[in-house]
Structures are given as C-alpha cells and as structure tokens.
Amino acid sequence: MPAVSKGDGMRGLAVFISDIRNCKSKEAEIKRINKELANIRSKFKGDKALDGYSKKKYVCKLLFIFLLGHDIDFGHMEAVNLLSSNKYTEKQIGYLFISVLVNSNSELIRLINNAIKNDLSSRNPTFMCLALHCIANVGSREMAEAFASEIPRILVAGDTMDSVKQSAALCLLRLYKTSPDLVLMGEWTSRVVHLLNDQHMGVVTAAISLITCLSQKNPDEFKTCVSLAVSRLSRIVSSASTDLQDYTYYFVPAPWLSCKLLRLLQCYPPPEDGAVKGRLVECLETILNKAQEPPKSKKVQHSNAKNAILFEAISLIIHYDSEPNLLVRACNQLGQFLQHRETNLRYLALESMCTLASSEFSHEAVKTHIETVINALKTERDVSVRQRAADLLYAMCDRSNAKQIVAEMLSYLETADYSIREEMVLKVAILAEKYAVDYSWYVDTILNLIRIAGDYVSEEVWYRVIQIVINRDDVQGYAAKTVFEALQAPACHENMVKVGGYILGEFGNLIAGDPRSRYVPFCLMFTLLFFFSLVPCLLTCSQKLRPQSRRCCAAIARSATQMLNCSSELRVKEFHLQRFWSPFSQATVLEEMPPFPERESSILAKLKKKKGPGAVSVTELEDSKRESGELNGAGERGPDPSVMAASNASTPSPSADLLGIRSAVPVSAPASSGSLLVDVFSEAGPTASSGAVNDDGFLRFVCKNNGVLFENQLLQIGIKSEYRQNLGRMYLFYGNKTSVQFASFTTTVILDNCLQLNVQSKPVEPLVEGGAQIQQVLNIECLTDFSDAPLLNIKFRYGGALQNLTLKLPVTINKFFQPTEMASQDFFQRWKQLSQPQQEAQKIFKANHSMDTEVIKAKLLGLGMALLDNVDPNPENYVCAGVIQTKSQQVGCLLRLEPNAQAQMYRLTLRCSKDSVSKRLCELLAQQF
C-alpha cells in the first residue's frame, strides 16, 4: 500500500517541511517560520477568496508550525470554515486543527459545536466518526454540555454503524471523565451493558472501557455486567487461536479485549452465582495452564500478549484474595518469571509478587523465592528492576526472615544507587523496628545503617532510635555501650556523633564504670569540633560520665582553640561552653528526658509520603514535616539538649514554622530580656507575617531575625538567625520548590563591601533534590562597625539552565546591639554628652506603616535596643538605649522617635559615640516605620 498514492499530496506543505528540515540553525528555522506565518496571514486577510484546497494547506502548515513548538494565534476561523466543507479531507484537517489547538473563544466554540452537530446528524458514518473523534479529543465542558445527551442515543440506536458505536462509546467515556455530572444515567445504561454481547469484537473492545468506568462509579447499576463479562471471557479463552480472525494477535485470541474484561471484573467482588464463579475459575485456570504450554511463536509479541493476559488474571486472583489454590499457582508462575531472560518479565514478576506477599494465602509461597529476589537485588543491571526487588524484599519480610532481609538490604546499601538510598534506609529502619525481637539487634542495625549510609539517614530515623532507647530501659545500657564503642572509630559520621552524644548524654552513667569512658570527652571533642551546635551535647555526656571531667572538657576546648587558632568559630563554641556552665542551665540540662508517647512511627509516614505521587509541592512537604515533628515528639524535644535548656526562654516564631525548620535548629536564647523580647516581637509584629515576596527582602529583616528572605518559582530561601555580643549565627534554608533536582548548587558569601565582618560557612551539598530543603550555617563575627551588607551569591543548574542569583544578606549593624536599661536622668546626661554635631543623625519622614503604638514598640524591640519607659517627658515619644558590640570596640547608642499622628510624620534622632553608626542606623530605621 504505497503511501504516495494515498497522500493527498499538499505539495506546498511538503516543500515547507523540507525547508524547515534544511534549516541549519534555530534562528534560520524561526526566520523561515516567520516568513511563512506572514505569508499565510496575508493570504487569509487578502480580498481574494481562498479555495478549499489552499485553506486546507495553510491550516495544515499552521498545525505543523504549532507542533514544532511555536505559538499560533490565528487561523482558527479558517479551520472552523473547513469543518463545514463537504470535501472529506478538508473537513478532516479542520477537525485535526481544532482537536490540537482548542481555543476557549466562546464565539468559535459555538461555530465548532454547530459544525459537529451537523456532522452527527448527517447519517454519514465517516463524518459522524470525525465529529465524535473531535469531541473525544477536546472533551471540554462546553462540548459535554452540547453533546452529553446526544451521544448515548447514537451509541445504543439500533441502526448505528459499528464503527460509529465504537467512537461514540469512547467519546462518551471521555465526557463522563471530564464532566460526570452532565452524563445522566438513563434507559441507555442497561443497553450499554449488553454491548458486551455484541458480535462485533471492535464494539465490545471500545464499549467495555466505558462500562468499566461507569461500573467503578455506580457498581450496583452495572452489576449485570459481571456474568456477561465472564461468559465473553470464557468464549475467548477457550477459542482456538484462529477463531477470532483479525482479532487474534500473534496467535493470542483478542488480548486487548481479554485484558479489559479481566480489568472490568476487578471492579467487583467474586461472583455470587456458583455457576458464573465456576466458569470464571475455569477461565483463570486455563490462562494459568496456557502459560505452561510451549509458545506458538518465538516472536516477543506473542509472549507479551499472552503474558499481558496472565498478569491481568493474576491481578484479578489477588483482587479476589479468596482462592488459595489460584494464589499459590500465580505465585509459582511469577516465581518462574523471576528467572526469565526477558528483563521486562522479571520486572513485572517482582512488581506483581509484591501484592501477592500481602495476601495471607500466598505470603508463605512468596517467601520461598527469597534467594532469587536477593540475587536479583545483587545482580540486576537495571536500577528500576533492583528497586522492584528491594520493594519485594520489604513486602515479604516477617519475623522469620527479618534478620536475613535486613542484613541483605544493608549490604546492598553499600553499593546501592544514590537515587534509591534514602528509601532503602527508611525501609531498613522500619523493618528493624517492626520485627525487632531483641532491641540490641535493633540498635546494632541502626548504627550500621548510619555507618554505611550516614548521609541518607534522615532526622526521622535517628530521632526514632533515640525515642526507642529512651522508652525501653532494657536496651539503654547496651545502647550506651555500643555507641561508645562506635565512637572509638577513627572517623564517625555526623549522625553517629549526634546519636552517640545524645545517648551518652542520657545514659552515659550506665557505663561510667568502664575505665575508658573517661576519654569520651576527648574522642567526642575532636569529632565535634566542627559540629558547633553539638558542644552542649558533649558537655552533658561528660557530666553524666564523670562529674570532674567538666573542667577537663572546658580545658580541651580552650586548648583546642589556641592550637587550631581558627578564631571565630571556636570562640563561639567556647561561648556556648560558658553558657552551659551557668548553674541555671546545668540544672535543666542534667535532667533526664521523659519517655516519649508511643505513636505511629514517623519514619513510616515518611516512607508513605515517598511512595506517593511524585510531585510533592513544597507546602505539602512542609505540612507533613511539621506534622511528623508533632507525631514524633522528638521533633520538639530534639536530641539537642540546648533546645531543652532554651525552650523555656524562647518560643519558635511563626515564620520559622512556615519554613518547617522546627527545633532541629538549636534556639540558643539565654534568658536575657533582650532576646526574649525579640522573639515576642516576631510573634506580635504585623510586619513579620506580611511575608509576601518583594525585592526589599533585606530591609524587612532590620527589625526581625527570622522569615523568608527570597522566593521565586524555583527556590525559597528562609532565614533564622541569632546574635549575641559581636557574634551571630545565621541558618539559611534553601528549599527546592520544583520536583526536579538542582545540580551544582553552590553558595558564596561576598564580603567585598563589608570587610568589617568575618563570615564563615561550610559549603552546601551540590545536589538539592526536588522538594527538598538544605541548610547552611553562617557564623558571623563583627570586627568593627559597618554599613554595607554582605552579599550571597547562589548558583545552580535547574534542568539545563544555569541559575545565578545575588542577594543582600540581612546582616545589619543593629544586630549586635546589647540593650541597656537606664533611668531618665542617666539617659539625658548621656544624651548631652553626645552633643557634637556629627554624633547626631536626624531624619524627618512620612509614616509608611500604621502608627499603632504596639507596632512601633515591637519594631523598636526588634531593633535590639532597650525601650525605656518614663524617660521622655512627652509620653508619645519613644526613647531607646543600647550598646553595639564589635570585636574592636563598643558603640553606645541612644535613640529618640517622635511621632506626629496628625501629620503622619516621624522625627527620628540618633546619637552614638561613633558618627558613622548614627548615620547608618538612621538610614536603616527611617525605612522601617
């Protein structure tokens, strides 16, 4: 059947396509296309009426251009004109154009619907089919409104041609799926069911898809279809391979229809009628028997079609879950496929066995294949097949084989593909917990997990092990001993140190008899050096072990500082050490953790989430993160004792919650009034919640420390920061909002304009998975006062494109304020002392925000100074005092803010011991009120 005689040969179109193919560059192609578009536009606009052929040719060219990926904004009207042509090919092209380029232009829709209506009533089957195809392809609400009542009539009318019935059935299916409310059940529904008996196989094949969909939604109304489907299936299954003529596909009778029949039966429970059920079981047995017969052809199409039916039959057997004999046979059949040379079959067998494993009848039978599955996990070359094998091992795991399966999964983890490691880790953790007979095995397993794949052990996993150890006193001694041993290794993963530090902190006393435990602080100290937030952890455990090692520990910290001479970071650590020396925090820190309430494991929830639909939006992700934090209990009382110590003093701010940060971040706020008030502010301040995206992100952080700094369609950057004296720590949270991985993710802090700051950070992981959030910590030291802010440059690849972004980091001089309380007369005395003209900066400006007293107070507190009451003789005015701490000097600052409500103006005056500071503070603050 040579194409050349068939083609209606639109010569102009062929020439145009050739031209496009000959274009050497994208630019040349666009040029050629623009030329063509201009030509077509002029032809369509010209005064000379176009004949049908030309119109068809141009519409077809437009379609081609659209399919190349270019936008088309005209030609719709000409296409609609073609619909009413009585030349078939013109009509056909018109319909194709409409199907591909639907436009919700209502004027046009009415014309299209009119043309469709005419064709549907033309009684010309070819035209009717074209119209039905168009409705099925577009499937819009407007079309459903116009034709939902008409199509059922065509479908069941006695004189409708078979081909039209087929199109009508699937057309109705599409409308039912998009607008079920418009397709009304009626007299036609019972007649549709009887299409299962139609003698035309094509009609049955098309109609059954519609019946299946309708049965799912209205099972009672359609339940007569079960016996009809069984008898149809029985006839096909028992037919000789040649009986069905052209519906036989590579010696397999009607494979598509068989699969669809088996699918339909899965909408219902096993038939109640004994005869029907007997017949069905017979069919299923025949299908299983056929799988054992030698193939009638060596072609892969033959075995694919045959096995497609077999897998669908097995799905039905699993769905019924009531015929032990069939279930075991199905399982044996799949067992054979596990070793088949076709990768596709091995993949499907593993997938199908996963569901069989959950049936009580076949669970044992599935288990007999454990060695084969383990082998598949080790040797399959395709990662998607290995993934299926891992899934199956997980599904077949029970108390009897848990140790073997967990061991195999652990050893596989050492070489597993990065893409599936996190899921594997979760699965191992779940199995270990679920089937743990003795908890020492559980502890060993999780520690192994951290050792092998520490990077992939999420917080949920290691929080959970701590939760379990705390709740089970029979394992605490063993856990302390084991983590202690594990920490002796020359290099430990960060997560190991965290778990170790936490467990020793709680239960170190249980192994205090061990002479080596004296050295724990030493081993830990060096591992912890770079995990700054863990120093408090270290302290607790040293204190639990031996009271006297406290002193020794501080000494190590100090000598390490001098030895390594890495100035700021360590000094920050030392500061933390000192903080924990205070008698107040000691008491809190040394208290034992109360047991966790037993609830559903949060790691299970995490796995469920991972298995769910791939595209998880960022908000969902964060919701579930927050949820799991609550579920877990460990979230709030994270294993970092500093959280415990600080939890009385600080409340997580709402903006932090939005980011899903939880208390994984140690909130180190000592009980000083200054930081307490900062936190109160961030809850009360209305500006804090107005977190809408705008480009002055920087200025929004002058009076607050937490929130979203930047957000676009790809990336969200959240900030949480804390300052003390001349030191600060900023947590940056980079959230990937897409479902695609960011590659080569790098961040750089640029200090060119801001040499007065010392900023240190560790590089971030170069890959950010879709939906994931990564964290970076910046340790900031203020050497002397400064005006310009550091910049943060972010580069990454999204898809192929390089994204480059530079933001101003909201580090401002006021962050290093220490509030100073003073009485009225002191204030004015100092005010007078700072009377040199350059020491004062003043600005009069219009109010940009509400002049509400509480709002203003909150902002001033957020600024970091002390807000002084009863100082200014005018109670409307605000006065504040504070000292800016830098490494080289301290700068005293006084502030006065005089609002004029009537004029909606402010006068702001600053007097500082250093004139550059007055100036800078005045600039920053003038934009805040």
């Binding site: 194409a3 399919l67 056909q92 081909s163 094949t205 091995r346 998607s384």
Partner: protein, 158 residues
C-alpha cells in the same frame, strides 16, 4: 487509561504528541522535555517500563524512533507495549515500510491512523484490517493530487 503518547527521535526531536488528558501547553512541554531526557538516557537492554511521577512509562525503540506512552497505575504494561507495536504495524502497512520521514511529512496521517486505533486513551479498534479499512475509505474520498517523491530511508523492521 493512557494519558499521552509521544514519538521522538534519537536526537530528541518530537515527531508526534497525543494527549488524552487536558494539560496546559507549558506543562506539555515540560513533560516532554523531562521524558525525552529520561528515556534517551536509558541503555538498550534495560526494561521497557519505569515509574515516573505517579504514572508508569512504557516505551520501545523502533530504529531511530522512540514510542513512549504514559499509563496509569492499574494499567497493564505489556498490553501497552503491544499497543505501541500495533500502531507501528498500522503505520508500516499504510505507508509501506514506514520511516521517520513518512511521519514527518505526513504527520496528519499519523494522527488520523492513531485516532482510528485509540480514542480517549483507550483501544477503539484492535483489528489491523478494520483500522486500515477505515483509513482507506477516507482516502477514497480524497481528490487525487500529485504524489510525493520517493522515500529516503526505510527504518522499521518488523
């Protein structure tokens, strides 16, 4: 139900796209880009199925062309593989040893044949004879026009 079918070349050029679910043009382009990349990166002996978002992808390569379908979770992978094969057979029979160029130059025909075979993402008519008969009948209604020149490459071996 099949959600969409894509035909693309080894160079990643999209030759035919058929969408059975309403999606925006932007989303379509994104999906296409992502899938073409994923499928082209796979090695020849790998299995023809993969999980992608919450769908299953079934693909097969015929000479220089990849045929790639997205189906739903409960759909049958093997029968979808044979849907692809039957479509290839239909094209082959209609064009006479079909090649990529036939599909480029007669893209509208490729769409018409597909519409006769699959409608709304479901098999409408699986008999090769019946599908071709419908197309032939339609061709008979056409006016005769000068033929295209001979074909350049024959790519499909069945």
């Amino acid at each position: 139900m099949m959600q969409f079918m894509l035909l693309f070349s080894r160079q990643g050029k999209l030759r035919l796209q058929k969408w059975y679910v309403p999606l925006s043009d932007k989303e379509k382009k994104k999906i296409t880009r992502e899938l073409v990349q994923t499928v082209l990166a796979r090695k020849p002996k790998m299995c023809s199925f993969l999980e992608w978002r919450d769908l299953k992808i079934v693909y097969k390569r015929y000479a220089s062309l990849y045929f790639c379908c997205a189906i739903e979770d409960q759909d049958n992978e093997l029968i979808t593989l044979e849907i692809i094969h039957r479509y290839v057979e239909l094209l082959d029979k209609y064009f006479g040893s079909v090649c990529e160029l036939d599909i480029i130059f007669n893209f509208e025909k490729a769409y018409f044949i597909l519409d006769e075979f699959l409608l709304g993402g479901e098999a409408q008519e699986t008999s090769k004879k019946n599908v071709l008969k419908a197309i032939e009948q339609a061709d008979l209604l056409q006016e005769v026009r000068p033929a295209l020149t001979g074909k350049a490459v024959i790519i499909i071996i069945i």
